[in-house]
Amino acid sequence: MNELVLALGWLGIYSPVALGACGSAIGCAIAGQAAIGAMVETEGGYGRFVGMSALPSTMVIYGIVIMFSLNRAVTPENAGALFGIGFMAGIAFFVTGVWQGRACASAVNAAKEKPEIFGLSLAPAAIIEGFAVFAFVFALVISGGIQ
């Protein structure tokens, strides 16, 4: 039983990085494909499209920071806390990464037709980023209480 609990503890430590990386990869891939499609259709502003497509990459950065804050000797006493915080933070980074990629793809699609709405079209992606920041900050806060 103890072995399983310890394994879950290690899973919790690495989950934010692994799930954050998956979320960032999928999100960047979705937004990146949108940027490539828009480049075929437009005559300029390519840099902006590529920049937009990189927005979901922040999820893996948050995951790395959470991993460092959780990284410690895993014991039966702290394994549950490590698993709960790390795994749930990882899920949050994964989901927000994927959906931020979709929001960025829509923003690219809209901004290629009307460049003047470029800033506004990024608002949904920025709001999604805000939710990821909530998950990040509060994971840091409660990880400070783990022994």
Partner: protein
């Protein structure tokens, strides 16, 4: 479940459709559209071809009979796997059934047989043959206006109404799909509507030009004759 992000690059490479009767032509040529559509998978390309073969008027020759058109529609409804696309197909074929009934009545024809057309509305059409909109105003709000336009002989207004409603059906059924095959198929079907309007304008212009030319040169039939 279909991948909702299957065709992100394809969708973003397609220019937006302008307003239907404002744009003089579709946002991109058929050649460029075909080039972009090469990104479709074999199955999706086949489904799109089935949809276009059934809904695009140029795919019907003058020699196509009513029975062949019905058979083609029914085969397409069986062949299209996506429920949303089947809904678009069914709604637009029902619309054609109603328009065909209006035209049939205007031409002095009698009520259609029970198995006629699509959507199982032939019985109601036959039962209300003398009603302006066959008693179907509630499920098809555009039908009363269409009947009025047809009675008045306003071909242009009728065409505009039909194209507007066709586009509305397509958009409504594809709502919530942004980067998947349904979004691509809806784009192409709307492209066909824009193309039809652009072609109709070109044909009307050509007819008018010939009429004006005939009127102007009517008295000079030997204009190119050698003196």
């Amino acid at each position: 479940m279909a991948d909702p992000d299957a065709y992100v690059a394809l969708i973003t490479s397609l220019p937006r459709h302008e307003e239907l009767f404002v744009a003089k032509q579709p946002p991109l040529s058929r050649l460029r559209l075909e080039m972009r559509l090469k990104a479709l998978s074999v199955e999706d390309a086949a489904t799109l071809a089935t949809l276009e073969h059934c809904l695009s008027w140029p795919a019907y020759g003058l020699e196509t009979t009513e029975a062949e058109a019905f058979a083609r529609g029914r085969a397409a409804l069986d062949a299209v796997p996506q429920p949303e696309l089947r809904s678009i197909l069914r709604d637009r074929l029902q619309m054609r059934t109603l328009i065909a009934a209006l035209r049939r009545r205007k031409a002095g024809g009698g009520p259609p047989p029970a198995q006629w057309g699509f959507g199982g509305i032939a019985r109601r059409i036959a039962a209300n043959w003398q009603e302006p909109a066959f008693g179907l105003e509630r499920p098809y709000p555009w039908l009363s206006e269409a009947a009025g336009l047809l009675e008045r002989g306003d071909a242009l207004g009728f065409e505009r109404l039909v194209l507007t409603e066709s586009r509305a059906i397509t958009r409504r059924r594809a709502e919530g799909h942004y980067f998947d095959f349904i979004a691509v198929a809806a784009y192409v079907l709307i492209w066909n509507i824009h193309d039809r309007w652009a072609r109709a304008n070109a044909a009307a212009a050509a007819r008018r030009f010939h009429a004006l030319a005939d009127a102007a040169l009517g008295a000079r039939t030997d204009i190119f004759a050698e003196r």
